[in-house]
Symmetry: C2
Subunit: 67 residues, 2 copies
DNA sequence: ACTTTATGTAAAATACACTTGACATTCATT
DNA sequence: AATGAATGTCAAGTGTATTTTACATAAAGT
């Protein structure tokens, strides 16, 4: 799973901590998701979509090799 | 989190077992998700979106009381 | 050089997504 | 009424998302 969180943050000049706050998760969670350590839960993906006012698919994308 | 899996299945005349097969999860997982026992993972939501050829948001919806 | 702020990372604990196996219930068909 | 297929559910186990705490590194400003 790829994601555009880092870019979306940069466009808004937000830190990982600020995004974490806005999504009610820890900074480490944002960092881990950005670094591809794990995928967010579906509820968290929905929160991000609401925050950025865009579809989940514009924030998170399956990488092609995933079945 | 609400979802339209049961309806989407019905439109296609699929059983829970058939949907589970198509998504590579157990029948119990489909049943639990349909009954609202838990939310699917984001990768599973993506698989469902691919299968039904529609955005994640047309299959799964946040219920309004969630923060 | 020093300080501050942002980011990367690790370990241990908790919560939850998902599996397998099993059984009970419902419903349609015979 | 009996059978079979679909659905509901439970318990125990595994894997992973997320938290907290803590420390290390990087970058930027003073």
């Amino acid at each position: 799973m790829k994601n555009r969180l880092k870019v979306l943050r940069a466009e808004r000049d937000w830190t990982q901590a600020q995004l974490a706050d806005a999504l009610n998760v820890s900074r480490q969670t944002i960092n881990a998701i950005e670094k591809g350590k794990f995928d967010p839960s579906l509820p968290l993906a929905f929160k991000a979509a609401r925050l950025f006012k865009m579809p989940i698919e514009e924030i998170f994308q399956e990488d092609t090799e995933e079945q």
